[in-house]
């Protein structure tokens, strides 16, 4: 994570690739809708890898036939949070249980400061390691 070029966080699908274009995003949504999955848009400014639950931008979208509606919502979210992480998640509820089947980032902050390695000394000269996002040093809403 800290050694990847450009210091871009790599979470979800396609995150090692250059940013997806709108046409590529549409094609991915098209696939998700064809499988009968519900697509939702989420955002956050805390990119810690264990931060699983991002804020929902509106409800998940059920019963949609065409990706245009979701792209409209993505663009709306990008407009509201131009400097946050925005991701698209596709939920599969067709089997009775629910699980995300797809998840990919569609918007990133202009500058991603990345993560630092934190060493904590514990008893018996033991060392605990963890990662810390530099962005979260600032309060929510002022991070990027």
């Amino acid at each position: 994570m800290m050694t990847n070029t450009g210091n871009r966080i790599t979470q979800g699908q396609f995150s090692f690739l250059p940013d997806l274009t709108d046409a590529q995003i549409t094609a991915q949504i098209e696939y998700a809708l064809k499988q009968g999955w519900a697509v939702s848009v989420e955002y956050t400014d805390d990119p810690h890898p264990r931060n699983t639950y991002w804020e929902m931008f509106g409800n998940p979208m059920f019963d949609l036939k065409d990706p245009a509606g979701i792209l409209m919502e993505i663009n709306e979210c990008r407009k509201t949070f131009p400097n946050h992480y925005v991701r698209v998640t596709a939920f599969d509820s067709t089997k009775g249980w629910e699980t995300p089947r797809m998840s990919y980032i569609v918007n990133r902050p202009r500058k991603e400061p990345g993560f630092g390695l934190v060493r904590q000394e514990a008893g018996g000269r033991q060392i605990r390691y963890t990662v810390h996002s530099y962005a979260t040093d600032k309060p929510e809403g002022e991070r990027y």
């Binding site: 509106g58 409800n59 979208m61 019963d63 949609l64 036939k65 065409d66 990706p67 245009a68 509606g69 979701i70 409209m72 919502e73």
Partner: protein, 314 residues
Amino acid sequence: MANPTDRQTLSAAAPAAAEGAAVDLEAAFCDSHVAEVLDALDRDLVGLKPVKTRIREIAALLLVEKLRRQVGLEAGPPALHMCFTGNPGTGKTTVALRMAEILHRLGYVRKGHLVAVTRDDLVGQYIGHTAPKTREALKKAMGGVLFIDEAYYLYRPENERDYGQEAIEILLQVMESQRDDLVVILAGYKDRMDRFFESNPGMSSRIAHHIDFPDYSAEELYAIAELMLERMQYRLAEPARAALREYIELRRARPHFANARSIRNALDRARLRQASRLFERRTGRLTKDDLAAICAEDIRASRVFRSSEEEGAP
């Protein structure tokens, strides 16, 4: 296809030299399979002459526009939002369904489904509720047709804090900016719709096609009844035909007449009476013919006949 001679003949519009283009049009017409939908429209819907003519015109325009784009003549995407006006039961929803299919076959909408909504689906109950509701309906309709039944209820001039206006504004915005993604069809009574457009000029100017659905004549209603019975695999006994014609005459003169919908309801009630008649008698074996036949008494038992004599409650 886009060779220079073609382009010349098109721009010169010389009838003698139009043969090259005519071949293309024919091929494109066959390719799009629009003919099937148009024929089905003619076959399945009784009457509605002006509506059918208008739909044919629109289909022709869309097809020609598609060909024009192929040869590089740009006129911008055609405006497709429509308004269907007419009394209840004149086939507005049915035609909207067909329209969605025509648009889909010609490639003007991507999916070709129809989402039918009314005021309740668009307008919220409290502040901040309307926008997400309207947007959700719009999102569901993307790639297809959004059919807003009784659209004039969106606008309530008597209550200036009504949230309907907000829904109209969002609709207008999406109708304008995402013309490629969805087609909006408004429907309702003619006079109320006219008043709605008067007070919402923005809406009126964004709707390209106004189609008026005429009421059915008695003859057409009878044809519709026969068509419905045929589809439900029923058969009118000989005396029942006269009874049905009489019924249609009487029913038309009564209040709350909803054209084809009233006929369908009448037929449903006739089926009910036929079933109970068969059930009451319950003697002997019933033939297939007995089960399919609707008799005069099934129709004559209707309240419409009774109250025409005594003028009582319907």
